[in-house]
Amino acid sequence: MKRYLYLSLLPEGLIASMLPPNEFGNYLSVGTKKRTRGQAMFLEVDMESVKDILPMDYIEEKCVMQEGNIPKNSVYLSIYRVLETIPLKALLKLYLVTDDGRVMELEKQEYKGNLNKELHLYQELCPITPRVASTLAPKEFSLLMTDGTEKVSVPRIVFTELQLGDLSKDPTAAKIDNLPYPNVQHLRDGLLILKENNDKNKKTIIRTFTKDLLYRTIKNGIFVGDKDDMIYYPFPSIEELESKYYAWWRSANIMGF
């Protein structure tokens, strides 16, 4: 039976499994008594591309059919500094799982976003989780966070850009409307500082974000980047979500209760 390799982002971990992605996502979210319910996000890794750095003997020994012909759910290979170890080219599809186990897969694409200076809100997802407002476009932001010029940086990062609505134009007075962010006043202050101060290009809004990411707040997609490259997983449009991924979207919409 085929074996898969997954890079879990929430929490970080490298896992071998006999479950195909949909079943694995379901298992991560609701299929284990260790974690009866919870959001999950993982990348499928091309095993061929990384077999030289993997303990293949261990995988072949442990990741086998269980008693009653049940496929092995998970064999944890690493839970520390995994993201930086796996090369970007080995990353395949990204899977977003709701907290009741619905799975949606995203294909990677080239990012062709706007590079003009404007206000952005980024939620870092792995390996660290602050929420940061910035004037940098995703590619620049990814570079800044990983190229080592900043005192605090990481070798590789996964992050998403969140919707700002009219706050990006008028941080002081725009209505928050559909933006479910906590401590909105602090967000407004942060955005205002960035808008009025050309020397500053990022401002931390939440030091460590510990809650579930509300998928509906994703503006364009999810980015995985390092100092050399960045890959991009675009998030479907509302129309697509409502027609093509309705079951997932419905579950995603009640998250955060």
Binding site: D100, I254, F257
Partner: protein
């Protein structure tokens, strides 16, 4: 006696026509497909759950009815109860239950068919849901009027042929028999004999309203507890703890939740409005009988007029239903317009009919003014409800804004909005009472004025056939939406069922206005009708009757007017006994609300435990590899509802009897007034606060103040959860509590008059 022409035959004929059209619409609905196998499977689960609930409910209610029947028989044997009451009580309860049963059966067959219809076009979905709602509407008015007609003609036949010696008893009461006491056919042409007979008949018929009220209270309280227990179970564990959407087949409580929509909103509402419909006609007929004698001539038009108006209302409703037509590419707005054409069209038709009846001399032009006052009051109350509960206006948006501060301020603001919202219905109903009283000549003749108040309620409910169709249409569309979600139908179908659901919510606001307004007017009319019952019992107990005549100085009991009763029983607010009753009536509303709310809490607790158990013991539910035990959740909710409904319902029956036995007529009048005034205000407050909280949450979900998942949304969810038993259990039950207490007082007036301590 003045001739009534052949028009009264429209009463039984219309009721048969209504039932015929209900059958026609049912058959037509059944010809539609239920859609895919999955849709059929879901509909079958809901159907089985709904029927299992009703079966159990009728078993419990059957036992209560059997006990009350025996008590009434014993009281009748003791001579303090009308001998027809035990049977009348049963028929009222039977037809009310039958209406609820048939309405719910139709609704549970219609949901999948509506969803399937919506997959073809919005109009097709509307037609299936609306015509299925019309089954409920026409079953209620058909059986209601049929029951009234059967009793009216049967009792007339019994009295006119002196069966059980009743005709002679009336003659004896009037002193017509002399010493020989022999039945003579001459009596039936004697105006005084006819008048007294009609008073007997109409007050006897009034008592079948108690059967309908009792059935309605059980249906509303039981259905309300059931629906909220299921809803809370589905929400708290399914949605909040397990993260599963509401209409998701993995949620064990989802079928129970859908069943709840049917037992609460369809069966409960049907029984409720059956009771209001019959109560308003019967109370007005009883008041009509009291004023039907004029210048030695008896005019039975006063008694028949409310029944004839109701019968014409059925025809107007049928025409209205056929006026609801739209094109296949109709938008939601044009659907609303077509529904309004139907309901407004039938209201205009009934107004024309009433003007025609006034022209033909069935009643004075003042009654036309009373009916117009009632209809206007219904519309204003409906619009007031819409203003305070719709997210298009400031009050509900204000609650949503307060949610930014957290759950506490959401609750505070919701309570404030609910309390504020009472002013429009109360000022309107005050104006409606005064206007309908005044138009009918009440400022010069009290009895005519109260007759006008009763007639205003009859006018409001005369087109119940179509207004109930628009009300029942809502839960059918809601269930169709659930079916479409669970069967994972395409986006455009879900959008159409959502549009139908929204349409149902909009039309329900006006329906609510008429239901609340007519309940207040009917209760007022019933209170005066209570004194007519008291008059009868005074006549039956010679020493009490003599005492009344002696102390009031009138020539005979038949000549006693309201002021004589006020004098004799000291019916003024400075009488501590009446004041005691007022306090008790006011307290009853609060205690009843508290009991029903606590009942919801307990029943929901059992449901929460059951859903948690299923998630714990059936691990494949969440992964979709195991099917939840839906039936177990249905059973838990059913048992909880049946157990919890009993005590508050019995309290509503027992308190008027106990108050009557201790404090007498003055205490009962105080109790009914206190119950009416406090209960009406509290019901409006609970309904509107609950509705406003619900829509405030929805307003946030539409993308305001942070939208779904925000802290404001969490506070909004708390408000909505608190408001659920407000608007779906306690609030709607209060209207029936008010009327049931009045009905119990009417039926037990003999016991009060004869055995009261004060």
């Amino acid at each position: 006696m003045e001739s009534t022409s052949s028009l009264p035959w429209i009463i039984p004929v219309s009721s048969i026509i209504a039932l015929g059209f209900a059958y026609f619409f049912f058959k037509k609905m059944m010809k539609n497909s239920e859609g895919t196998d999955r849709m059929k499977e879901i509909a079958q689960y809901v159907r089985e759950g709904a029927m299992a609930y009703l079966k159990r409910q009728y078993k419990v209610v059957g036992i209560v009815f059997a006990i009350l029947f025996i008590i009434f028989v014993i009281l009748a044997i003791m001579g303090v109860q009308n001998p027809f009451v035990p049977i009348a009580f049963l028929t009222g309860g039977f037809f009310s239950g039958l209406s609820g049963f048939l309405g719910m059966k139709t609704a549970t067959y219609a949901s999948a068919r509506t969803a399937h219809g919506a997959s073809q076009s919005l109009n097709k979905g509307l037609q299936v849901a609306f015509r299925s709602g019309a089954v409920m509407g026409f079953v209620v008015v058909g059986f209601g009027l049929l029951d009234i007609a059967l009793w009216y003609w049967s009792l007339n036949y019994i009295y006119d042929n002196n069966i059980f010696g009743l005709g002679l008893k009336v003659a004896h009461e009037l002193g017509l028999t002399g010493s020989d006491a022999i039945w003579s056919l001459d009596y039936i042409t004697n105006a005084n004999w006819i008048h007294t007979k009609m008073v007997h008949i109409t007050t006897t018929m009034l008592t079948f309203g108690m059967g309908a009220s009792t059935q309605a209270l059980f249906a509303r309280v039981g259905g309300g507890i059931y629906t909220k227990a299921a809803d809370v179970g589905a929400d708290l564990v399914g949605k909040v703890e397990a993260g599963i959407p509401e209409d998701d087949p993995r949620n064990p409580a989802t079928i129970a939740d859908n069943v709840g929509d049917n037992v609460g909103d369809v069966a409960g509402m049907g029984a409720d409005l059956y009771e209001s419909y019959c109560g308003s006609i019967l109370a007005t007929a009883a008041l009509g009988a009291a004023i039907a004698m004029h210048d030695g001539q008896f005019n039975d038009k006063f008694i028949l007029a409310p029944m004839v108006v109701a019968a014409i209302g059925i025809i107007a409703s049928i025409i209205g239903v056929f006026m609801v037509r739209t094109k296949d590419d109709a938008t939601a707005k044009s659907l609303l317009n077509s529904l309004l054409v139907g309901t407004a069209g039938s209201s205009i038709l009934i107004l024309i009919a009433i003007v025609g009846m006034a022209y033909l001399g069935w009643f004075g032009w003042g009654i036309v003014g009373s009916v117009v006052s009632g209809l206007a009051a219904g519309i204003i109350i409906g619009q007031g409800t819409e203003y305070y509960t719709s997210d298009g206006y400031k009050p509900t948006r204000g609650i949503a804004e307060q949610a930014l501060q957290g759950p506490a301020t959401t609750i505070i603001d919701g309570m404030a909005v609910g309390m504020y919202s009472t002013w429009i219905p109360i000022v309107t109903i005050v104006a409606g009472i005064i206007a309908s009283f005044g138009f009918a000549g009440g400022f010069t003749d009290f009895a005519h004025g109260v007759y006008g108040i009763g007639f205003a309620a009859v006018g409001m409910l005369s087109t119940l056939g179509i207004t109930l169709a628009t009300d029942a249409f809502g839960p059918i569309a809601d269930n169709a939406g659930g079916n479409a979600e669970m069967a994972e139908l395409p986006k455009e179908v879900r959008e159409r069922t959502d549009a139908l659901d929204m349409l149902g919510n909009t039309t329900a606001a006006t329906g609510k206005g008429f239901a609340i307004g007519s309940a207040a007017l009917t209760a007022m009319a019933l209170m005066v009708a209570y004194l007519e019952e008291v008059r009868l019992w005074l006549a039956k107990v010679p020493e009490l009757g003599a005492d009344f005549i002696d102390k009031t100085g009138i020539s005979s009991l038949a000549n006693a007017d309201i002021y004589n009763f006020v004098d004799y029983y000291n019916l003024n607010v400075f009488n501590p006994i009446l004041l005691a009753g007022l306090f008790l009536g006011s307290m009853m509303s609060f205690v009843f609300v508290a009991m029903t709310m606590k009942a919801v809490g307990r029943a929901a607790g059992a449901m929460v435990e059951e859903v948690r158990r299923q998630f714990r013991e059936i691990p494949g539910i969440l992964t979709g590899t195991a099917t939840p035990e839906y039936a177990k959740c249905v059973e838990i909710s059913t048992i909880g509802a049946q157990r919890e409904m009993l005590f508050p319902s019995l309290l509503a029956i027992l308190v008027p009897i106990v108050v009557g036995l201790i404090f007498g007529v003055a205490g009962v009048i105080g109790l009914l007034m206190g119950g009416l005034v406090t209960g009406f205000s509290l019901a409006v407050m609970l309904n509107n606060a609950g509705g406003a909280w619900d829509n405030a949450k929805k307003y946030i979900e539409k993308g305001n103040f942070g939208g779904k998942g925000s802290d404001a949304h969490k506070a909004g969810v708390v408000g909505d959860t608190v408001g659920d038993p407000f608007k779906d259990t306690s609030g709607p039950s209060l209207n029936i509590l008010i009327k049931l207490m009045t009905m119990v007082s009417v039926v037990m007036s003999g016991v009060t008059v004869v055995y009261s301590l004060m």
